[in-house]
Amino acid sequence: MTTDFGYTILIPLIPLLMFLLLGLAGNQLKARLSGLLGTIGLGIVFVLSYYTAYKYFFATEKIAGAFSKISAFDMVWLRFSESLHINMGILLDPISVMMLVVISTVSFMVHIYSLGYMKGEVGFERFYAFLSLFSFSMLGLVLANNIFQMYIFWELVGVSSFLLIGFYYQRPTAVLASKKAFIVTRFADLGFLIGILLLSFNTGTFDFNILCDPQGAAIATGSGAAFLGLSVMTWSLIFVFMGGAGKSAMFPLHIWLPDAMEGPTPVSALIHAATMVVAGVYLVARLFPVYIISAPDALVVVAYIGAFSSIFAAVIACTQTDIKRVLAYSTMSQIGLMMVGLGVSGYGGHDGLGYMASMFHLFTHAMFKALLFLGAGAIIHAVHSNHMTEMGGLRKYLPITHITFLIACLTIAGIPPFSAFFSKDEILVAAWHHDKFIFAVEYIVAGLTAFYMFRLYFNIFWGKETHYHHKPHEAPAVMTIPLIFLAFLSVFSGFIPFSKLVTTDGIPFEGHIDWSLALPSVFIGLVGIIIAMVMYKKETSLPDKMAATFKHGYKWAFNKFYVDELYMFVTKRIIFAYISTPVAWFDRHVVDGTMNGISWLTNAFSFRIREFQSGQLQKYGFVFITGALLLTFLMVYLWT
């Protein structure tokens, strides 16, 4: 078994080598060559990943009807104690193989696309070095066979994201955004780390195979002592989820994601839409057996955070005008939906529908969201602006971008037969059977999603034509080919039989479409589209009127419900002004002051007693005689 998949070690290693090559020698290479090298490297990874997926799903024998977990590589990296050690390994199971396909596809497309998009930028080779670093870390993350390895790559993914958001490092907004992204996710990772500490000491292992074995000892012994009514296991998994929520931009740790759009657009497509931000979903899915068996309460938290984030972000997305920010909030909303899928899922067979649907949606979302971002990149490339108010009527100028963008919009709106119709529908079905309230929330989100996406679409491609400085022109082939490829996947990936491939226990089950729920969700999608069409296809005063009617609500949503301001208040006011500054002051004046005080006292004391060493014989004689007399007097007195 093991030897068959031994070559998979190359999948993360190739991008790592590319990173080292481009990072160390990039400035000696021609820009174009370094771009090509990076792209070729990813091309190999792309081929290997598809080959692995084929081999794993179709050419490997199942054990007891279930896809087996294959350890393709394993070595001890660091030993904490006899039982607890960090390994570096490769674990192949349905979700990790699926993620390989997702990451390599999007990453490869982004590599190709960037050859055109980033052409002529200063730091072109740096860009490709960072892209390779990111691909390496992300692949290492999904292949991890233990939770600590995952944490290691989790941090590396975070730093690559930091480097790429701050790619235009001379632009202050980019610097601020990258800093914010890193610190917010770092804070979330603190939770992740605490979760790992609790989890590993509770179960005695990092290893996913032991940890996630539903019949295993780890899960059974896990639920022990209680704190505030929840078991230690529940707490640890809530903490772990905090890490996931940070990376996946779930409320209230989402504030970094919209700002992260300061990075180059291909980066947004790769990291902040398709791959890194779904790491949180992947994390929960990875630990799903532990969640469902020993900490179902934590899963409720996942479901509700996901549901709230999805509607919260959808509302904000309806008001934003920067197209990348609309897409960012849309991403947050869709990830919330994936979290809901996991949160409402059961375990085993058809009960695990939510889990399957969540992974399915992760897959389709990666394709259509990457497509949307790359399309947005092509638009920005053409008109040199991010704001939809400065666009309009672009369908004439950008025909390919227009069609692919429309496909992506129809996909995200859940219109059959595009892929997200299937995946979203199944999440809704799972929610319906599990929690009607969450279902209702997600149903509204579906309508809002269709609305804001088509608001975007009509504003960009229809509406009033803005006066452009120079005529917008279609992107070069190197950029449109990835668009077409992703559009193809967005249309057809819905027909992949996910319920036969990715399930909670690895055993395939029969999935079917529940039309009684699917039809209403298509209906609400169409309603959203029609409203958007009425409001934005031709220029009308309707949007302004609407905004005026719901003045307060609009203002709050437009300002993202002031969450950023709240954070600024906490960090600037409380941490800087009330903790750090006083600490620094205390250190300089009280602690150091005491030390200086001691030296001052010593000094003052010696100043006083220096009189004794004056060098004047008379004085010495006086002291000598006085002392002698005093001593004599004392001795005589004491004796008698």
């Binding site: 590396l156 610190i183 750090s580």
Partner: protein, 501 residues
């Protein structure tokens, strides 16, 4: 000739060589060659140590040699190493050579500068190989005293004040230490018989608990002053700010490690019962200093102050881990010493190089330096990432080992203290990114900066040496961690006799 004594001898020979030279160029060349040989010897020592262990030699200390020195007081020149001291020696050799290259451009009293610097390093090497408390103390003083001259003469800013403050506070620590060591000596034969300064011999007996209660805090605090134990750390910001580059590098990189090393090799190892009783006090102090240093660093304006406070935080973690008294955490403590030694030396080297170009250390006066000095900028970012514990660099390995070791204690007190310490990873990220963002990124603030030159060849050697070491530990920590962990066993067993928790 014993290889260990060679480590003390080579610096002394180098000094002798420098004394015969007049010309500054030759001075630094001789220094570099001498310390280069020292690095090779250290590498050979690591190799010899590992092959000796592999051959199955399970002695607690290897390459032990002993010569009577002052018979009537039982003072011996006794040397020997285990995995821990070997690792510290390797660290020292690396930092020293990097320090030599970083001070390539010292032009005022060059010979005297290099002599003091190398004398200091010979004290450090001597300290790490000593097994005799008195000899150890002697080397300790040899390491501390040149510091006064180095800061007072070649320093900047209020250098006399800083040099005085640093030396006096460390001397205060030494005074406590001397009393502690004499206390150990006097109680080293509770059943009657020959008194001893030998660490190995003392470790075999049990010092009476009353004596331990008195002398443990003295010894621990004595070493703690050098290890920047809160609230005795205030020499550090001033001292570092005034010290010349190489001195800051050596001081924060190596000398502060004498504190941590001594605290566990002498105070904890020889007096485990008292350590166990009093650990809680110091655990509170050190977990305070971990977050306190980090918060303090957030609002500093001077690069060196930021790094000094960050050192308080990181060294606090060292002492914190030592006090956890189990194998994992204490291994983590040693790893943290090495990791912090390397990266803080790197930081100070870079700060010196940046200061040499911009003539300011105030971060808000700088900006956008990445554009003009990309090499130094990138290395600064790497150092920063190591400091905030990015996997793949040494800081991560050390911190995680400490956190997991500390978490092995299941009682609420230790766990809460650990969580407090763990939270520092976020605060560290805040101040590191603040510096990187203000200093290196953004638009260039000052037009003069447009003409800055990037790193020279000797600056590149200095920084690359350190970066390679930081990355090597971060990528492949297994052998180092095992080497230290195995040597930790006898110490942990001794501690367990005090507290079989």
């Amino acid at each position: 000739m014993n290889i260990l004594s060679l480590l003390v001898l080579i610096p002394l020979l180098t000094i002798a060589g420098i004394l015969f030279l007049k010309d500054t160029r030759k001075t630094r060349l001789v220094s570099a060659i001498g310390m280069g040989i020292q690095l090779i010897v250290a590498a050979v020592l690591v190799f010899m140590y590992l092959s000796e262990r592999k051959a199955g030699n399970m002695d607690e200390m290897l390459f032990v040699r002993s010569f009577e020195w002052f018979g009537s007081l039982n003072i011996y020149y006794t040397v020997g190493v285990d995995g821990i001291s070997v690792a510290m020696i390797a660290l020292t050799a690396i930092v020293v050579i990097a320090g030599i290259f970083a001070s390539w451009q010292v032009d005022n009293l060059t010979r005297e500068f290099f002599i003091s610097l190398i004398l200091l390093s010979s004290g450090v090497f001597g300290f790490f190989i000593s097994l005799d408390l008195f000899t150890m103390f002697l080397f300790y003083e040899v390491a501390v005293i040149p510091m006064y001259l180095l800061i007072g003469i070649w320093g900047s800013g209020p250098k006399e004040y800083s040099a005085m403050k640093l030396t006096l506070m460390l001397m205060g620590g030494s005074a406590l230490l001397l009393v502690g060591i004499l206390g150990i000596y006097i109680n080293s034969a509770p059943g009657g018989g020959e008194l001893s300064f030998n660490i190995l011999e003392i470790s075999k007996i049990q010092i009476p608990i009353e004596a331990q209660r008195l002398f443990f805090p003295l010894t621990f605090v004595g070493f703690g002053v050098l290890g920047a134990l809160f609230p005795f750390h205030t020499w550090s910001p001033d001292g570092h700010a005034s010290a010349p580059t190489a001195v800051s590098m050596l001081h924060a990189g190596v000398l502060m490690k004498l504190g941590g090393y001594g605290a566990f090799r002498v105070a904890m190892f020889l007096m485990p019962e008292a350590a166990d009783e009093m650990a809680w006090i110091f655990i509170i102090l050190t977990s305070i200093s971990v977050v306190y240093g980090a918060f303090g660093a957030i609002v500093q304006k001077d690069l060196k102050y930021i790094n000094a406070y960050s050192s308080v935080s990181h060294c606090g973690l060292v002492l914190f881990a030592i006090l956890m008294m189990n194998k994992t955490a204490m291994t983590g403590a040693i790893l943290q010493m090495i990791s912090h030694g390397l990266m803080t030396a790197l930081f100070f080297a870079l700060i010196g190089m940046i200061y040499g170009r911009t003539h300011t250390r105030l971060i808000h006066e700088m900006g956008g330096l990445m554009k003009v000095i990309p090499f130094l900028g990138v290395v600064y970012v790497i150092a920063g990432l190591a400091s905030l514990g990015l996997p793949g660099l040494s800081g991560f390995v050390a911190e995680m080992t400490i956190f997991f070791g500390a978490f092995e204690h299941t009682d609420p007190f230790h766990r809460i203290a650990t969580l407090v310490a763990v939270s520092s990873i976020v605060i560290t990220a805040v101040y590191i990114l603040r510096v990187v963002g203000t200093l290196l990124l953004g638009p260039i603030k000052n037009d003069h900066f447009n003409h800055l030159q990037d790193a020279t060849w000797f600056e590149r050697i200095s920084t690359i040496t350190l970066v390679v070491a930081v990355a090597a530990i971060g990528v492949a920590p297994y052998w180092l961690s095992t080497m230290i962990g195995d040597s930790m066993l006898p110490i942990v067993n001794k501690l367990l006799t005090a507290n079989p928790f």
